[in-house]
């Protein structure tokens, strides 16, 4: 098993933290190997921010991602910049609040109102990264919700644990629901041949 992820957005959206949590979940709570790397500009907010995670049950040498299996895209410019790197048949979770123009992709696209939900449900756009991570976990099933939850507890700032836990739950349910819609009825822009990476027949909705 080897899965390559790219998470991209604008500096300050928290895509790097989301990637760190994904890698933490894999290493500490799923017993897998993972590497996480990042590239960002010198600015602390704004500018492009990109985080890459590789999860594997074997050794990982080259730590960067050339053609991701899975992407989380949090803004339009990241979509425009990276969408063509997606592996054929790969999965994209996009924040449709900020990615308005979903250009055609040879893969499965899952748009969610991520930032919109963060504002609407929590009044805090800052939790969009965790909602997005929840969507990613729900859609791909590559990492269990429980592992992500534990990793969030370990990595988010003190005092924000409960807020982030709720954000994860919301995102995860959004992800699961949309995936079941897609795979159950074939009614989807995710594509007819979409198969979740891990069987989640036992997942609770």
């Amino acid at each position: 098993m080897r899965m390559e992820f790219r998470l991209a957005g604008s500096g300050g959206q928290g895509v790097i933290l989301a990637g760190v949590i994904l890698a933490e979940a894999a290493v500490s709570y799923e017993g897998l190997n993972a590497v996480q790397s990042q590239s960002y500009g010198p600015e602390s907010r704004g500018g492009a921010s990109k985080c890459e995670v590789i999860i594997s049950d074997g050794e990982i040498y080259f730590p960067k991602v050339i053609s991701p299996d899975v992407m989380l895209i949090m803004n339009q410019s990241s979509w425009n910049k990276y969408i063509h790197d997606l592996k054929k048949g790969g999965i994209v979770v996009a924040d449709s609040t900020l990615v308005k123009e979903l250009t055609p992709v040879d893969g499965h696209v899952f748009p969610f109102e991520i930032t919109g939900s963060a504002i609407h449900e929590f009044g805090r756009p800052v939790v969009a990264n965790i909602i997005g991570l929840g969507c990613l976990a729900g859609v791909t099933g590559v990492i269990s919700k429980e592992a992500v939850r534990k990793a969030i507890m370990k990595r988010v700032p003190k005092g924000t644990e409960e807020l982030n836990e709720r954000a994860l739950e919301l995102g995860y349910q959004m992800g699961i629901r949309k995936t079941l819609e897609f795979t159950g009825r074939g009614e989807s822009n995710g594509g007819e041949d979409f198969e979740p990476i891990r069987d989640r027949s036992k997942a609770s909705v």
């Binding site: 290493v27 990982i60 040498y61």
Partner: protein, 379 residues
């Protein structure tokens, strides 16, 4: 405290700080700079917990000076920086060589020259590490390729510094410094930790710079009760300056000799599938990870390739390079600079072997595909 014995996710810079603390580093002075900042950040949090001292100094010159002072007072001391700060530390690194002050200096390389590209990887400082400070001095530098190795190697850096009483450079790069991956930390009680040897109380009159252990003197820590003088000027056994040509020459030669004599104990290389190789990749630090993957893929395609990865880059592992690569058809030297280590490899291998540089600057990394393509192009 960090958990030991179980796989955890850790960043290269964190591993550097935690490894140093595990082997007894209790003084850190620095001036944070990307991509090394997390080392200072973690030391600021962790050293007070361990009864140590963290100082953010006014600049890099003073932070290196503070490290020298703390080490002379008996602390295992470290500083961390990146290229622009490493340039500023050179004067006092030279002082530490000359005054034989053990310390570890971490350089997490980024793109240069000057302030270059703060968040992008490079390996452009390998020659600066060797010759950045002036005068004829020996230099020891180790270069890790993973988070786990960073943890293990920073401990070796301290052991070497303490044994030989000399500064040791831990030369990282942005790829490894910022990388997070799985590590398993050893139980601290299983670590081999070496501390500097002290003078015997009976050995009066005290001559701090008289070599006692081979070519290494037993210099007291300030506060131990010995009175002595420390200077960057050429000095005799008393530690006071001298203009005697013979004494000065002998001192400079001894500084080199003590490192040369320890060559076998301080030279670490990693070799992969070189036994039956026709061509090899020579790579170090983060780029060696690309090289490893390229070599594995080349083997799958029937190309008899191998990897030579120096962990100790200074003193340059001349014998190991000649022994392992001396009978090959070609060697590809892959590095994030315009060919600094290639010169060393060429020097060691002579004219009979084709040495091919695979070089990149400007912040883009060298991918396994790039290396594989170069390997396939070797006729």
């Amino acid at each position: 405290m960090v958990k030991t014995g179980k796989g955890i996710l850790m960043q290269g810079n964190e591993a550097c700080a935690e490894g140093a603390i595990a082997c007894g580093m209790r003084f850190f002075a620095g001036y944070p700079i990307t991509p090394s900042t997390e080392i200072a950040e973690l030391c600021a949090l962790r050293l007070p917990q361990e009864g140590g001292v963290f100082i953010q100094m006014e600049d890099e010159l003073s932070s290196m000076a503070a490290v020298v002072g703390a080490s002379l007072a008996g602390a295992k001391a470290m500083t961390a920086t990146s290229g622009p700060g490493f340039s500023l530390k050179q004067e006092n690194i030279g002082f530490a060589c000359m005054a034989e002050v053990p310390c570890v200096v971490v350089n997490v390389q980024r793109v240069g020259p000057s302030t270059g590209m703060p968040t992008s990887p490079a390996q452009g400082d390998v020659m600066q590490v060797r010759w950045g400070t002036h005068g004829d001095h020996p230099m020891i530098a180790l270069c890790p390729w993973s988070v786990q190795e960073t943890y293990n190697i920073v401990i070796r850096c301290f052991n070497i510094a303490e044994t030989l009483r000399t500064p040791v450079i831990l030369l990282m790069d942005e790829i490894v410094g910022h990388l997070r991956e799985k590590v398993v930390l050893p139980d601290p009680s299983t670590l081999t930790i070496v501390s500097r040897r002290k003078p015997q109380k009976s050995s009066l009159p005290y001559l701090p710079y008289k070599p006692v252990y081979g070519d290494v003197p037993a210099i007291a820590d300030y506060g131990d009760g010995f009175r002595f003088h420390v200077t960057g000027l050429s000095h005799d056994y008393t530690g006071f300056p001298t203009n005697d040509a013979n004494v000065a020459a002998e001192e400079i030669k001894r500084l080199h000799r003590k490192v040369q004599a320890a060559r076998n104990e301080i030279t670490f290389v990693h070799k992969y599938r070189l036994e039956d190789a026709e061509i090899a990749v020579f790579a170090y630090g983060g780029v060696a990870r690309s090289a490893m993957e390229a070599v594995m893929r080349a083997r799958e395609q029937g190309i008899r390739a191998g990897l030579f990865r120096p962990i100790t880059i200074w003193p340059f592992p001349e014998e190991e390079v000649r022994q392992s690569l001396g009978a090959l058809k070609a060697v590809v030297v892959a590095e994030l600079n315009l060919g600094q280590m290639r010169l060393e490899v060429e020097r060691c291998l002579g004219k009979g072997i084709e040495v091919i540089g695979l070089n990149r600057v400007g912040g883009q990394i060298i991918t396994p595909d790039d290396i594989l393509e170069t390997l396939r192009g070797v006729k």
